[in-house]
Amino acid sequence: MSEHEIRPGIRRLFRLAVRRPDAAAAEADEEIRLHLALRAAQLEREGLTAAEARAEAERRFGPVHEARGRLHESAQRREERLRLRDRVESLAHDARVALRSLRRAPGFAAVAVLCIALGVGANAAAFSVFEELLLRPLPVPAADRLVNVTTTAPILGTDQCNQSGTCDEVLSLPMFRDLSARRGALASLAAHRIFLASVAPAEGAALQADGVFVTGEYFRALGLAPAAGRLLGPQDDVAAGAHAVAVVSHAYWTTHLGADPAAVGKRLLVNGRALELVGVAPRGFDGTTLGMRAVVWVPMLEAGTVDPFMGGPEALRDREQHWVYAFGRLRDGATAEAARAELTAAMRPILRDVELALYPGISARTRQAFLDRAVEVTDGSRGQSTLRGSTRLPALLLFGITGLVVLIACANIANLLLVRGAGRAAEIAVRMSLGAGRRRLVLQLLGESAVLAVVGGAASLLVAQGLLRLIASFIPDAAVGFGISLSLELRPSVLLFAGAVSVGTGLVFGLFPALHATRADLIAAIRAGAGQIPGGARAATRFRAGMVTAQIAMSLALLGCAGLFVKSLRNVGDVDLGMEADRVVQFALLPALSGYEPARAHATLRRVEDELSTLPGVQGVAASSTPFLTNSSNGGNVSVEGFARGPDTDANVRTAQVGPGFFRTMGIPMLRGRDFSAADRAGAPKVAVVNEAFARKFGLGARALGARLGRDGRSPEGVLDIQIVGVVRDANYSGVKQAPPPMLYTPYRQDTTVNAAAFYVRAAGAPAATLRAIPGAVARIDRTLPVAMLKPLAQQARESVYLDRMVGTLSAGFAALATLLAAVGLFGVLAYTVAQRRREIGVRMALGADAGRVRGLVLRQMGAMVLAGGALGLAGALGLGRLAGSLLFGLAGDDPAVLAASTVVVALVALAAAWLPAVRASRIAPATALRAD
């Protein structure tokens, strides 16, 4: 590069003249003039006359007018290209400068990148969860036109609900048919029901997974097109048991059928029933229920033949059984409100004229409430799921908490940049006095923040990835009917989010420091010299103090919130389950899903139970029709000897059909009477064991033993055919956090309809050996039966409270991180202030202030920030506590012990962060400080 050329960056830096657009044309004209003159002169020298030479010069040049236009254009193009090159070079130059200056300050760069990486990484991970649970619409066309159709309480008769919705949202199939006949505002209305499916191709192993029964308009309402073959339609929804067809998911087709188009038309065994595979659902669609991945769709009218737990096709016609979930698609231009009014108007006469007669014994109040039931039509764009309801608040809280962590991290970066800017005041002042524009300098300083943001953003993806893996490890594995399938990953949307947050925060929090560093009072800065901060620094001081105060406030709020969750989690861990879960291994067998007849299924369960008790190191075996601590729950109403029952009396109990020696094996203490034995078999007198809550509810007291009872719908009308032979201590049933309900235990060997069971095996020593031995023991009885849910009972108990464990652990981690970041911020500001006030402190000490007084000076500054921040933080903690109240177990959102403890922690951390700068201040030697300049 020659000495003539001015580097583009410098031309911009010093605001040298830039050529105007029309200047390029004028220059081109000047070149043409000179060329013609020189050419003419040459020709004249060769002997032509002046006029001839002029004409010849123009001829050789080309048609002057036209050529001139072309040259103007090419000169113009040249200018534009040069300007662009200039700009690119100046950007690259800025980036190089930023990188170089950051390399010179590796400590600063590392801390800043770490702050961004931790803050943004946590935030991006929380966003991924938040988006998956609360934002992502179903992968179907125009999902925003989908609506969920439910009814208001009370539902009379029986209800069966699952992860698709609450027990108030289910409809009976006949009522669904009635509504769909009168659905003017809805283009289509569909019902669906998840079932446990064992799916096997003609030759190949069975997969236990989720299936969905669907009515004729299911796929039409969703607007889906098949990936192969056809989807289910109205022609598959005509007569019960007449539609032996199925559609499988794209994922199942790919992984189990080799993505073979010829698989369509072949036979598929679903729960032992042969169906024709007619098509494959589009890729990426796995049902409308969040957390569940359906692999097979079967016509609703096959529910009686395919689902062994339905109890036959009667449920399809029964208005008293409520078990399907409904959704629809709004007609173009129709509103949800119109659909609601229309469907409610359609339902009311049916309730009054048809269904009311089914419930003769109800009270006048219940009757009125029943007749006033309405249809609700709500947003269905994200499908139907109970998971969303239970995880909404935790997901929101975690997202909010990590947002605060980002803010705290950013405040640190802003403070660091501010300190850096002050250190470079002299350099910047010199550049500005040499004519560098402020805009230009601000951009260059922002370039530094941008580089930090880009590097920090990239690092944040690693943090996010790790956190997502941690979050996923809390969520129970998907298993048949239990567990949750979620896609927690760095989706493009999450990458975009992380990028936007890191660059956004880098720039927003770099702006004030950059503006401040280039403020106008240059002369003051130059005169003051290095290490001295002129008057304009007051704004910066206020800004820094404000930032640290806010950090303290936010970290206290987060600590308070985390403290609540941790204490709640401890309460959950301290729950007395009423059983001895240690050394017990659980698993489940569902022979009914393999197409076994009830009698064969029942026999298989009995043989497995016997086989298990012969295993070495096994102390006892217990079977139960309902698995414990899995959110499963069965029950019904009972009539108990001596207990008066009116129309509105609550006579509901939960039930479990269990094997011989159940209570001894589970470690549930027998208070009176006896455990079940092998003698309690079919044909023997019907017996039951109840718990204390049952005895209390029905006022049995001491006369519980020997009392008789009858079960609605199972015992003959008005007959009390079951006798209580034992009373046991209360033990948890559906979950750890749900208090033990009134329990009615009966022997499963007396009820041959039991066709699936959970088994509990108590090991004498460590459960690991038993865990390994179980699959072999089951295979000795039946080689084809899949063993489900095989894990220690203690693990099942932990997984049943996974949400508490996840929220508690993560919020504690984030709060600790926030507090650490705030401490770093506080330390940085105090250390900087001390360095700044060296001379002042030196003077004070020269005038006789002792070390204690100087330390007090620094600590007072810290105290002011902690007091203000603490007050704000306590208010924030109370607010967060109120918000989180419903997630807490065994404590309120304003738990004084937690609030006090977090305040003490913040105060101690602040003191620790302030101590070093305070001590350093007190060690300043007056003579050196004064000599320094």
């Binding site: 081109a28 000179l34 060329h35 050419r39 040049f61 193009r77 040249r78």
Partner: protein, 106 residues
């Protein structure tokens, strides 16, 4: 061949920075005036070279004290010239081979 003029101009500028007319004369002196392009095409080539960063220009003064735009070759221009020369030599050799080979079926 396309880009020939650009390469020739760059070659001229490797001797010394020149203004437009000097380049014309340099080229005419070495080709006995047989280049056969209009003078204006040269200026377009110069603007193109400048835009691509192969040449740079500054205003200067001629021996007769006239203001003129002096062009010089940049580092990128030198590299471009080397590459262009190679290409030309290979091209010319190929054409020569074909034209001087004994006639006959391929």
């Amino acid at each position: 061949m396309k880009g020939t003029l650009d390469v020739l101009v760059l070659k001229a500028l490797t001797w010394t920075p020149m203004h437009g007319f000097e380049i014309t004369q340099w080229l005419e002196g070495r080709s006995d005036g047989t280049l056969g392009v209009q003078d204006s095409a040269l200026y377009q080539a110069l603007h193109r070279l400048e835009a691509r960063g192969l040449a740079a220009a500054d205003w200067g003064v001629t021996a007769n004290n006239q203001r003129a735009r002096y062009y010089r070759v940049t580092d990128a221009g030198r590299a471009h010239l080397a590459a262009g020369t190679d290409q030309w030599v290979r091209y010319a050799a190929t054409v020569t081979d074909i034209l001087t080979a004994a006639a006959g079926p391929a």
